[in-house]
């Protein structure tokens, strides 16, 4: 996993609630057996007319060149529905390193963190403020300090992140390394279960 310390970037706003993982990546694109290449189908059915990638829907934000950046800002309950990790892979592959919302679905949050995509939970008020900002604004996210800042105004919020997960993210460690290093403890646990 890639380490993540700081992001400074413009952002892409999708001011919609309950964005489910079927929208992020529809099931018909889950036939691949690798983790690569999902970015081109990110938000596929919101992005293109009639499933035709030569016909971008002009009213969708990913097709509007004035919006760009490594940060996606979305309405509450982002990532609900299916547990497909392909949603996190698609966001990462497209170039997003963080998603900002006022509320995340549990499984998506875990999947994102396991891929080095940072879910940043902010207050409803701060989120509303972000949606009102013009597209030229940039945001700064500092993982160590757990802060998100609107660069132009200096307005800032502190976000929560589990200290263990923070260490993983800052250093690019993953949970699998941790678990493999604890196999002997797991074996001892198993022995006690069957005793």
């Amino acid at each position: 996993m890639q380490a993540l310390q700081k992001i400074n970037s413009r952002f892409v706003p999708i001011p919609m609630e309950n964005i489910d993982t079927d929208q992020i990546i529809p099931a018909r694109f889950l036939k691949a057996t690798t983790r690569d290449g999902f970015g081109k189908n990110l938000f596929r059915d919101w992005r293109y007319e009639n499933n035709d990638d030569t016909k971008p829907k002009e009213d969708f934000v990913l097709n509007q060149p004035q919006f760009s950046g490594e940060i996606l800002v979305a309405g509450k309950n982002f990532g609900c529905g299916s547990s497909r990790e392909h949603a996190a892979w698609a966001l990462l592959d497209y170039g997003f390193k963080a998603v900002v919302s006022s509320f995340f679905a549990d499984i998506f949050k875990n999947n994102a963190l396991n891929n080095g995509v940072l879910p940043v939970t902010v207050s409803d008020e701060f989120l509303a403020k972000l949606f009102q900002l013009g597209n030229a604004n940039t945001l700064s996210i500092d993982v160590e300090k757990q802060t998100i800042t609107i660069d132009a105004t200096g307005e800032q919020e502190v976000f929560d992140i589990n200290p263990y997960k923070k260490t993983c993210l800052l250093n690019g460690y993953d949970d699998i390394d941790y678990l493999i290093n604890h196999r002997s403890q797991i074996e001892a646990f198993e022995a006690q279960l069957t005793a």
């Binding site: 609630e17 036939k31 509450k76 547990s83 990790e85 392909h86 646990f189």
Partner: protein, 470 residues
């Protein structure tokens, strides 16, 4: 100290609690399928590892398989390769696979319980959000992502933060024509699609106790649709009677001992939950959804909310957008509205009890000529049982199309899809935009409400259907 059912099972499975971090949680059973496992196999292989406890993993092919001609090679190349990859991975890592053609094949959340693999007190995971289904047996069961599938392959453990505890009590008697699907759609409509996020839910109360195992599975299955990490029901005589004699359930020699152990799995009288919700069963009517998340549901005789009167701006925008996608109008009733498709199947409602209920209703009737009806048993065993009980004959005479076991039109991944712009009353679990195919419009409902629409061709209150003249 008094403990909840959830805490009793959780605490017993914690290998280690990381300071200021998640717990290392030991997993008893790991179900896998073709869609969310290949990258996890590739991951452990890249690390030079073997699956740590292959005998605790069970595989099937369900999501990306056709439901016609399963004996033939899969036509779609990518689907064929993905299923083939599962076969090879299972062979290489010595994992039991109930693949296409195997008598135990079927939807992962149907076969685990029906084979007796799912048992009370277990921790169960699968790379599928509807893993919550198995909680009906008094197990901690939840969906995980592919990185977590890889963790379980590597160590038989996952790192998990302990969720908060919620109890939903449903007391009293259900009205005629109200099924467990209506109970869960009612709960989600009441607390919204994110109302249980961060919680693990225990369903309790006399209305829950009175339900069969199949009905309990339907409720636990949709726990994720209100954001819950999982849902569970304390095991009782109904659970033990269901399990006894099943293929992989404990045998006669161990049975009494196991049942005694399972009888300890209940929430202590003075245990405290982080949240409790009380519902009177008599409030619940047959339910149907009108929007694009499972929380947007109403009673079958109810009306779609008048969007102008919704005070919260975010919610109002959401419903306006949903109605636009669905081609429906604010304030109107759904009752009497024509539908073009009926889908009876999915891990929510494809078990033998669901098929029996549908057969009972449609016996001696014919489907409406303007509706296409697809009925998809959840497993080869369900299909076999339906055949043996003569249900297939009833379905065929009614003009229903019977398919082979799989997830089918629940998720718009395999060949079974609903065309853009058309309406489908579906017994599945999600009505998201494009869920049943790009542009498809899904109305979630119970198997009885779906069957009633199959007969009339319109959204129907099953309680008003005229009896068949015999």
């Amino acid at each position: 100290m008094a403990k909840t059912l959830f805490d009793k099972i959780w605490d017993k499975h914690v290998v280690q609690k990381i300071e200021d971090g998640p717990s290392v949680l030991y997993i008893d059973k790991h179900f896998i399928h073709e869609v969310t496992s290949p990258q996890a196999f590739a991951g452990i292989e890249k690390r030079g590892l073997k699956v740590f406890r292959p005998q605790q993993v069970v595989a099937t092919a369900d999501h990306n398989v056709p439901t016609l001609n399963q004996h033939l090679p899969i036509k779609d190349e990518l689907s064929r390769l993905q299923v083939q990859q599962l076969i090879e991975n299972c062979k290489k890592h010595h994992i039991e696979l109930y693949g296409l053609g195997h008598p135990f094949q079927g939807i992962v959340h149907v076969i685990g319980p029906e084979l007796g693999i799912t048992q009370p007190g277990m921790t169960i995971v699968c790379g599928d959000s509807h893993t919550s289904t198995h909680g009906a047996f008094g197990a901690i069961a939840f969906g995980i992502g592919t990185s977590e599938v890889e963790m379980v392959f590597a160590s038989q453990c996952v790192l998990q933060t302990k969720p908060k505890r919620m109890r939903i009590n449903i007391e009293g008697e259900l009205h005629n024509g109200v099924l467990s699907k209506d109970i869960i759609l009612y709960i989600i409509a009441k607390i919204t699609a994110s109302g249980a996020t961060g919680y693990f839910v225990e369903y309790a109360g006399s209305a829950i106790r009175s339900l069969s195992m199949e009905s309990r599975m339907t409720i636990c299955n949709m726990s994720i649709e209100m954001g819950a990490r999982g849902g569970m029901i304390a095991p009782d005589e109904t659970t033990f009677n269901y399990m006894k004699g099943r293929q992989f359930a404990p045998g006669v020699n161990q049975w009494e001992e196991k049942v005694a152990e399972w009888k300890e799995l209940y929430t202590d009288a003075d245990a405290v939950f982080d949240m409790e919700i009380n519902i009177n069963a008599s409030e619940i009517e047959p339910m149907i959804t009108y929007g694009t998340n499972p929380g947007l549901g109403i009673g079958i005789n109810g009306s779609i909310p008048v969007t102008d009167t919704i005070p919260d701006e975010g919610e109002r925008k959401n419903i306006i957008k949903a109605l636009q996608y669905m081609g429906l109008e604010s304030g109107k009733q759904l009752l009497g509205m024509p539908v073009q498709h009926v889908f009876i199947g999915s891990c929510t409602n494809s078990r033998i009890e669901d098929l029996r209920l549908v057969a009972q209703l449609v016996k001696g009737r014919k489907k409406n000529e303007h509706v296409q009806v697809m009925i998809v048993p959840g497993s080869q065993q369900v299909a076999k049982q339906a055949q043996a009980e003569g249900l297939n004959k009833i379905f065929i005479e009614a003009g229903f199309e019977i398919r082979q076991a799989g997830c089918s039109a629940c998720l718009g991944m395999n060949e079974d899809k609903i065309p853009a712009g058309e309406y489908c009353i579906s017994t599945s679990n999600r009505n998201f935009e494009g869920r049943q195919g790009a542009g498809a419009r899904t109305l979630l409902a119970s198997p009885l409400t779906a069957a009633a629409a199959a007969i009339t061709g319109v959204v129907t209150d099953v309680r008003t259907l005229e009896p068949v003249n015999s």
